[in-house]
Structure formats: structure tokens, C-alpha cells
Point group: C2
Chain length 406, copies 2
Amino acid sequence: MATIVQKYGGTSVGSTERILNVGRRVLATQREGNRVVAVVSAMAGVTDSLLKLASEVSEDPTEREMDVLLATGEQTTIALLAMAINHMGGKAVSLTGAQAGIATDGEHTRARIRNIASEKVDALLDDGHIVIIAGFQGQTADGRISTLGRGGSDLSAIAMAAAVKADRCQILTDVDGVYTCDPRVVPNARKIEEISYDEMLEMASSGSKVMQSRSVEFAKKFGVVFEVCSSLNTNPGTIVMEEKPHMEAVVIRGVSLERDQAKVRVGNVPDQPGFASRIFRAIADAGIIIDMIVQNTSEDGVTDISFTLHKNELVKAKHALAAAVEGFAAGDTRVTSEEGVAKVSVVGIGMRSHSGVAADMFTALAEAQINIKMISTSEIKTAVIVAEADVENASRVVHDAFGLGA
Amino acid sequence: MATIVQKYGGTSVGSTERILNVGRRVLATQREGNRVVAVVSAMAGVTDSLLKLASEVSEDPTEREMDVLLATGEQTTIALLAMAINHMGGKAVSLTGAQAGIATDGEHTRARIRNIASEKVDALLDDGHIVIIAGFQGQTADGRISTLGRGGSDLSAIAMAAAVKADRCQILTDVDGVYTCDPRVVPNARKIEEISYDEMLEMASSGSKVMQSRSVEFAKKFGVVFEVCSSLNTNPGTIVMEEKPHMEAVVIRGVSLERDQAKVRVGNVPDQPGFASRIFRAIADAGIIIDMIVQNTSEDGVTDISFTLHKNELVKAKHALAAAVEGFAAGDTRVTSEEGVAKVSVVGIGMRSHSGVAADMFTALAEAQINIKMISTSEIKTAVIVAEADVENASRVVHDAFGLGA
């Protein structure tokens, strides 16, 4: 008898009608002869309503209490889903994060899972129950309610799959799986059958927001194989797993795009130890998250350093930099910036053993008359910054160049 | 330093604006130099919304899951109230029923409190916190969420007051206190300053629904003195306490009325052991709650038995009785019934040591040309059934007869 963990997101449980659909699917999964755990999110819209209530009583709500408040969202869903399944003749029981043994640290609103004591879940499964668990939440060592932050329900599901030694973990969502590129941009994008954790991580951090990186990292760390698939049909989705030798045969797994970027260039930086540190310390101290960093080879004792970030952070970054570069020895250090840019990345573990990926990508872009503004590479990713206006065309020509289309 | 438990009902916390008001009051109570515990209900309307959701997924929702669902209502309020108080510069912390140590039996949707382990609450109070506790809910010995049923939040407050050895327990509600009669019926009704548990119980069971009897019984059992007062002003309310010698000086504490009653008469019942038992066993087996029972002195070997009940139960009761009386030896046992009646009761512990209360009541009614349809008495109560059309006038003349008006 296989143990399956299924995770249903907020849209999948967004109404009582959809909860009934989820109930039917969960029950069918059990009746196929499986032990089933369902991890669920708050109904779509509920979290926003709760945040609005909080904003009405406080401009800066206590994080401890925010967790108590938000945790009611998933608790509502688990009760309704368990009721629905019982009404259909199934035998379901709901557990909050705390009841399911999900122990976290004390960082309210962004807690990390410390461990899962799954004895209660195991016992309920052994007893023939479908176990419905509130995602996104846990309990601190001293009994406070905690929440896991963005992507928390995925994390709950993957951690629970590790704890109960699940044979399968399914992340059910409103897309069919992970695609070679966003099908709204590249119409012939294909669903990927198998993808390695590392590729999935690079796709996620490059803007393919099927899942948050932290959940994929957790799955990688604990070797949890999971499937991203649709909650609306039973088509096979995308299996995310440790890389296998045969996976390297595919050089490029997919193309990822990220819009609304800005790039900043700090020119004429003295090519001496400490200056890069001063620049990025200033950025970090301002709480700004940056993406690519590029430093060119120096010439005449000065160099220039470029980086990208979300365009909404640009004003704050320029402000922080202005103060930082003031004391630089080379008096003509200049900060320039450009908005209206986007990032296109090709990702694939096959890149490690295949040469020419970057060349092929740049050739495809050149033939389409698309100018490259920045280049950055990792072991399994090559990323370029192009004008926002070019990003869709760039994605299509790169996607075609690597033969990813259906 | 006094310890005060305050209970705020659903109307008092019915909007974020009202939660802010409650927050100000709780904080003011602490700043007067008190240790404060606030027990709160779900925001008015929230429980109904949750019940509606449940009805959409199941016609007969699992009681265990209903408790998981309903408990989110109070959990939302505690988080918001704690946020509000913290925003005002106070130091508040919320606890669910389980976190507050409220242990119950396993009777979902109508659990009884077994005991309260108040160490956590005590420690938080010692540390200068205002402790906000979710009323209406607790936890079973094996860690399930339970709810206490109707009037549960009052019960939580009174039980918590006993556990933390509170100096005062205030039940804050939308009325000023307990009145000598419903002021909508008797305009010169007065607020009662002090009332004994027994009088409060008789008033409650006679229709003055300020509080459920179970909370008053609990307070009596554990000697918790509490005050029923308004959440909208700081006027003194009504103190409910063990009777004191001076309380007997007031013969009648109040007049209580209960509408929408029906009376049933079973005539020509053989005056032999077992027949009353058969009648009321049939009623009980049908799940019908009855109020007064009267049996007249027998004549010619037969007697008649009358009882009252809510008019909505009448059809069911007649059905149950028809089957029960079929086998009676006296073939002409007859069931008759009357709707459109109501009950008026006078309540007071002084009745024990004062004669003539019943005579005074009946005289007042007679002078107003009001016909009495049934009479029933207890040690501290005299109740009559009158026509529904007479109930308001009956209440007024009885209220005046005992000099209860302001």
C-alpha cells in the first residue's frame, strides 16, 4: 500500500464547490488503494480578508498575533474538507499544523520547520483515515502558533512527505506541471516530464514561479521526489527529483523569463579590495534583494560593477549607493541605471557536459536582432538581460534554438 | 493587585472598530492597576458564516470537524484584540482554548470543562501581560479541538476566573445588567444590584436569557462571584453571588416571562403507578424538552396530567403521546393541547420565609381580569401560564404588585 501526500493550493480549495471536488479526488486516491495525506492552503481570498482585518486594528500588527490570525485560514479549509469527505462516505480527520506535529523555530510569519513528529499522522493512516493537514503552519517549542511564510503549504507537504516516508508527493496546482517556458509567451512550450532539483531551483529563481525555491531546496535536502500536476485533471505532471544520468542528454531543460527588472552600473570603481564590499553592504543594509552581479575586467586601475534588481527597488538602491560611493578614492565613480529590462535564462544540467550553449543562445538572439545588455552564467544556467520589449521574442527564439518546442 | 476576568460577547467584538473599543477598555482596566484576562467570543455573524460554509459541503457535518471549524471564530478575535492592544502600547498575548489549558471531555459541539491548567496564564499575568483567551473552546485529553456549545464563552470566563482565583469576573454584554423584568415590557423595570445564584438560575430558566443556566450553575458550584454589566458604559451592573442573609429581605427579586409556549393536557389517566412514567418516557424518547409539569388530585380513580413546552415542539409531542396512551387501561384517556400561551414567573429567595406570595400574585392577576391556566411553584419561584395576549399586562401588574418598579 503506497502512501501519497497531496497538496492543494488556495485556488483549488477556493469555494465550497471546489472543496467538494478536492474531496472527491482525495477519496478516489484512497480508494485506489493508497494511504492519503492531504495538505491544504487557506481558501483563495481568505488570507487577504484576514490581513485587511489586521490592518484595521493596527498599522504594525504583532507578528505573533498575525500567525494566530492567519492560521485560522487553513484551519477553516481542513475542517470543511474533512466534512466533505466524510459526507461522501469516506473517513477523514483534520489536523492543524500543531496537531500534525509540525515543529518550527520561533520566527513568526517566516518560521522554519525544525522537525515533524508524525506519530499521530502515522497512527491515523494505519487506522484507515484520510488525514487532512493545515499547510503553512506549525507550532514553536513553547506552544505558540507559527506560520511558514510564502510557499509555506508546499513546504508543509514536502516535509510531511519526508516524515511519513511517502511514496509520492503531489503538488496540485492550477497548471499542468513545469513547462519548458511560459505557454502564454511561447505557445509551443512543452510540459517537462522530469526535472532535477537543481534545474527546478534555477527555473524558480529565474521567474518560473510554480513553487518557491525553499520548498525545492527542502525536497532536495531530504530527497523527497515530488510531482507538480493539475488539480483539475489527472494528467501526468512534472516529476522533480535528484538528477539521473539520462537527464544530462537534454542539454537545456527550459527557458525562464523574469520581467520588471532594472539594472544598475557603478562605473569607475577603484580596482582594489573592499570597494565591491562597500557597494553591496550598502545595498544589503537597505534591505534590497539583488539578482545578477557582474564585474568586468579592470582597465587603468578602475572597473565597473553592474547588478540587477526588481524595478520597484531601484529608487531605494540608488539612494543607498549615492551615500556609499561618496567616499570612494576615484572621484569620478558614477552610478547609472536602466529600467525596462528583463531577464531570459536557459537552464539545464546537460550544460555541464555540453559546450556551446552560450554561443547558441547568443547567436539565436543576434539573428533576431535582440541586443544583450548583461550576461551572467552559473554551472547549469546562462542568463541575459534584454530590453523588456524584447523579452517575449527572445524567449521564443531561444526556446526554438534549443529545440524545446512540442 | 487584583485579578480581573472580563468576558466580551460577539456583539461587543462585532467589528474591528468595536474590537478597538474593547481593547481600550481592557487596557484601561490594566492601567488601573489590575491583572487582566479577557475572554472573547467570535465576532457577531462569523459563526453563522462558518455554519453556512459547513452546510454547503455536508448536510450532516462531522461534529469533530465542526469544532475545528467554529474554533477559528474566536481565534480570529483573540489575534485582532491582542494586536489592537499592542498597537495602543499595551502588552497583550492571545491564547486559544487549548493554549490556555482549558481541558474538556470529548463531547464535540457540547463539551464540558474538565479542568483548567492555568500555569501559562498565571505566568503571562505575572509577567505583566494582558491575556486574551478564546472563549467557547477547549481541548480534549487526546488533543482534539472541542467547543462548549451555547453560552460557552460565559462558561470559559467563569471557569477561568475560578482557575486564576480572580477577584472579579465581569460578563460584559449589550445590557446593563439583570433587570427586575424585561424593560421592553415593563418600562419601570429596575436593574438589580445583587442576585443570588439560585434566583439567577430561576430567572434564566424562566426566559430571562442574559446567560445560560449552565454558566450560572458552574459559578455557583465553584463560588465564582460575577458581574453582568454593559460593554458600552462603566455603570455598575448586577452582581451574581451566593445568597447573603440580607438578600431575603427582598421577597421577589424579579419577574420573568417566557413566550411561545404550549400546554398539553392528558386527561383520564389511570391513577396508578407507571402511567406518568409512560407519558414522560415517550416525550423524552422523542427528544422533547418540557418545562412545567402539573398533576391534579385524582377523582374516581383517574387523574389528569398537564405540561408545557415550546410551541415548536407541540406537533412532535402530540405524535409521541398518541402512541403512548394507546395501550392505557382507561380507554378514554384523551390528549388535548393549547397554543398561544406564555409563562410569567416571580422569583425570589425571600419567598421561602414570606407567606402569601402566590396569593398576592393571583390577586393582582385577577384584578386585571387575567385568567390563570396553570400554576406551578418551586421553593423560590411561582409560575403561571396565561394567554399569550395577556403576558405583557400580567408582567406589569405582577411587577407593580411586588413593588419592583423604580
